[in-house]
């Protein structure tokens, strides 16, 4: 089976989708001729022509607004926002328009668009190239929110997102593009070419939206994580020797509650890890659901390990980033709690 980086897997997903369906179009800033600042769309314009893969003016609301109009016509735009940090000018188009068109028109018009954007830190990107805004989108009814953590999932989930009849926010943890970063920033990262999840089928396949996966089976404690934090949690489990069950949520909305409840009911302990800020973060939703559905199984308070409630700093990146040491401490405390 071929091996791909996450970038190559994402590109392959768009390639396969464009090949299969003429209605799939790809556009965004620097996406056309150049192939994207992270190279995710490299070669697509050459292969499919500049009316199916093209550069846009620097206007995120324009990119999303135009995609909504195209979707109303019948196309399936898969668009790129260069960094998740840049998506805010498009928020009205996403939250008030894309998410609601099916509902408000009673299905006369729909919005099958995918909005891809690199998310998260760990690359010394400072406050405007590092944010994780997933909770802003999970709060919007009508959207789906996906965060892949590896090449094979990234490809399968992206194809599923493109084929989905509703708008999907597709957040790509940019620190994972080239390898499974576990937060030990002083150590080299294994490239995807040497990792099992870097094995990606060539052609068409999907990974279903709304399904989580147990990354590491364990008996003592459940970790709920997604994206980069699945590897950080694995490292923390290895560092502490705690037999943690690590769940990669993959899709935040709709959420695979069943897998979460089954695991926490078994372990009785739950640590939630995300890179985004703490207050009103997606972890708050997870904690509320776990206490509601697993209350009588819980043997310790649910704990969240997240980015601090500050803007994402530059020099202090590794003080901000919830690395394996912090996650490990939370796991130990939860075992003692």
């Amino acid at each position: 089976m071929p091996r791909m980086t996450m970038i190559e897997a994402i590109r392959s997903a768009m390639d396969v989708s464009m090949e299969r369906d003429d209605d799939v179009v790809v556009f965004g800033e620097d996406v056309g001729y150049f192939g994207g600042v992270f190279r995710c769309t490299a070669g697509l314009q050459q292969k499919y022509g500049k009316t199916r893969c093209f550069d846009t003016p620097i206007s995120e609301l324009g990119i999303v607004g135009a995609a909504i109009g195209m979707a109303a016509y019948g196309l399936r735009p898969c668009i790129e926002i260069q960094f998740a940090d840049y998506v805010y000018p498009a928020f009205d188009q996403i939250a008030s328009e894309a998410a609601r068109i099916r509902y408000r028109s009673n299905g006369q018009f729909t919005c099958p668009i995918v909005i891809r954007m690199p998310t998260g830190g760990g690359i010394f990107g400072g406050q405007t190239h590092s944010q994780s805004p997933e909770a802003l989108f999970t709060h919007v009814s009508g959207l789906k929110v996906v965060v892949p953590s590896n090449p094979v999932d990234a490809k399968g989930l992206l194809i599923a997102a493109i084929e989905d009849p509703d708008p999907v926010i597709f957040l790509e943890p940019k620190r994972l593009y080239n390898g499974p970063f576990d937060g030990h920033h002083d150590k080299p990262v294994t490239p995807w070419s040497k990792h099992a999840l870097g094995e990606v089928p060539e052609g068409h396949f999907t990974v279903p939206l709304g399904k989580a996966e147990v990354r590491r089976a364990g008996a003592e404690l459940t970790v709920l994580a997604y994206g980069t934090m699945t590897y950080v949690s694995e490292a923390a489990a290895a560092d502490t020797g705690i037999d943690a069950e690590i769940i990669d949520l993959k899709t935040l909305l709709p959420l695979d509650l069943e897998t979460i409840v089954a695991s926490v009911s078994k372990t009785g302990r739950c640590v939630i890890v995300h890179e985004a800020t703490l207050t009103s973060g997606f972890g708050a939703e997870l904690a509320a659901l776990v206490q509601k559905h697993c209350f009588y199984h819980l043997e310790a308070p649910i704990t969240r390990v997240t980015g601090w409630d500050t803007p994402y700093p530059h020099a202090q990146e590794w003080d901000y980033f919830p690395g394996p040491a912090r996650v490990g401490r939370a796991m130990i405390e939860t075992m003692e709690g």
């Binding site: 206007s59 135009a66 109009g69 195209m70 109303a72 008030s96 028109s105 018009f109 009814s141």
Partner: protein, 414 residues
């Protein structure tokens, strides 16, 4: 005045004000109205750079005597003119009945078109089946003139059991894909860039259908407007971009959004778009300009920006009272007159109409509106009779209902 010098003193912020407020004498002397028939009609493939002056003039066809004059005249047959009058009269009667229905508590909210009927009614007649409008809340003439059933509009206004949108939308936020009428948003301006996207898709697919975007003078200040113009300009999308300048954005006079640009149409010049201003109360002029712009789009000549100069005679909505911010008699002083009366006079001048026939038509139109209203009310009004089910509230958020919504629907007991 913007940029006025105060010598070497401290800086002073310029905040534009309308020249007239409640209690003052209405004055529209600043609105320069060229004589009907005097503005050139360029070929549709004109170089936009050669018609920049059209962004500062006003294209008019009907003169004060009710005659159709000049190069923009002649786009409509006698039959089409009579139909146009009937469409505008229908919209006006529809508004009157629905305005009253709101006052009677049969719905929560209504927005009327008084004074602006020509804009949407005439524009609709320049489009073809399959074309798509991305309207604002004051273009119901697109539906009326397109033959959409009034009873369906009323069902939507009443949010009753027959509401095509199942009670999910604020009254008058219609949607009809079949009639080329995109779902209306209350978030102003969003539809303008969506119209460009729809048009781009049509061009990507080598289709022949075109789109029209709509926006009000106030909402041109939204970023969506500027995104629409830059995308339309960059990709030469087959779209007509319509600005309805009715002078008032709720209580805010148009000078607040327009700033120092002179006219709203002039906004298009920096984007290289052919930008025209037209008398929005002149059914013939609106139709002729719409047809010109639609033909440009259809012939792959690119987008056109059109500003319709008109006046919002009524309140912004049933929640608004204009006497608090503008002179009460201002609409009487509006120099472009009333679109219904102007077309009626034109038909009389042409020997196609009479006062008597007009009265009779008014009665017929009102009868048809009342009949539709009776039928709609048999399906319920907002607070009485049949209404959409609570279960419907949970449907249609996604194509397939996800588990969390199923759980919430169960919790709601439906």
């Amino acid at each position: 005045m913007a940029g006025s010098s105060t010598g070497n003193g401290p800086l002073q912020l310029h905040v534009p004000e309308p020249s007239v407020r409640p209690g003052d004498q209405p004055d529209f002397s600043s609105v320069k109205i060229p004589q009907a028939g005097t503005v050139e009609r360029p070929p549709v493939d004109v170089d936009p750079r050669d018609i920049r002056d059209l962004a500062f003039s006003i294209i008019r066809v009907l003169n004060r005597k009710g005659e159709a004059v000049g190069p923009w005249a002649g786009s409509l047959t006698d039959e089409e003119l009579r139909d146009g009058l009937r469409d505008m009269m229908t919209l006006r009667a529809f508004d009157a009945r629905m305005q009253t229905a709101q006052r009677q508590g049969k719905t929560s909210f209504y927005m009327q078109h008084m004074g602006e009927e020509a804009v949407s009614c005439a524009f609709r007649k320049a489009m073809e089946p399959g074309d798509m409008n991305f309207p604002t809340y004051r273009q119901a003439g697109l539906l009326i003139a397109g033959g959409y059933p009034m009873v369906d509009m009323m069902n939507q206004i009443y949010s009753n059991e027959a509401d095509p949108l199942k009670g999910r939308q604020l009254p008058i936020m219609y949607s009809s894909k079949e009639h080329g009428f995109f779902s209306i948003s209350g978030n102003l301006g969003t539809q303008f860039i969506q119209a460009v996207g729809w048009a781009m898709a049509s061009a990507i697919k080598r289709d022949t259908r075109i789109a029209a975007g709509w926006i009000g003078d106030g909402s041109t200040a939204e970023s969506d407007f500027h995104a629409a113009l830059v995308f339309a300009s960059t990709y030469q999308a087959p779209v007509v971009l319509n600005i309805v300048n009715n002078q008032w954005a709720i209580s805010t006079f148009q000078g607040i959004a327009r700033g120092g640009s002179g006219t709203f149409a002039a906004r298009g010049l920096g984007f290289g778009l052919p930008s025209l201003r037209v008398d929005g109360n002149d059914y013939l002029a609106v139709h002729a300009v719409a047809k010109w712009a639609v033909e440009r789009a259809r012939r792959n000549l690119g987008p056109t920006l059109v500003e319709y100069v008109t006046y919002r005679v009524g309140a912004h909505s049933t929640s608004d009272d204009p006497s608090a911010y503008r002179a009460k008699t201002e609409s009487d002083a509006w120099p472009l007159g009333d679109p219904v009366i102007r077309l009626k006079n034109h038909l009389i001048v042409k020997g196609l109409w009479s006062d008597e026939r007009h009265k009779q038509a008014e009665a017929e139109v009102m009868d048809s509106v009342i009949a539709a209203q009776k039928e709609a009310e048999s399906h319920g009004t907002l607070h009485s009779g049949g209404k959409p089910s609570t279960r419907d509230m949970f449907e249609g958020v996604y194509e397939t209902m996800p588990p969390h919504l199923r759980r919430q629907r169960q919790e709601a007991g439906v």
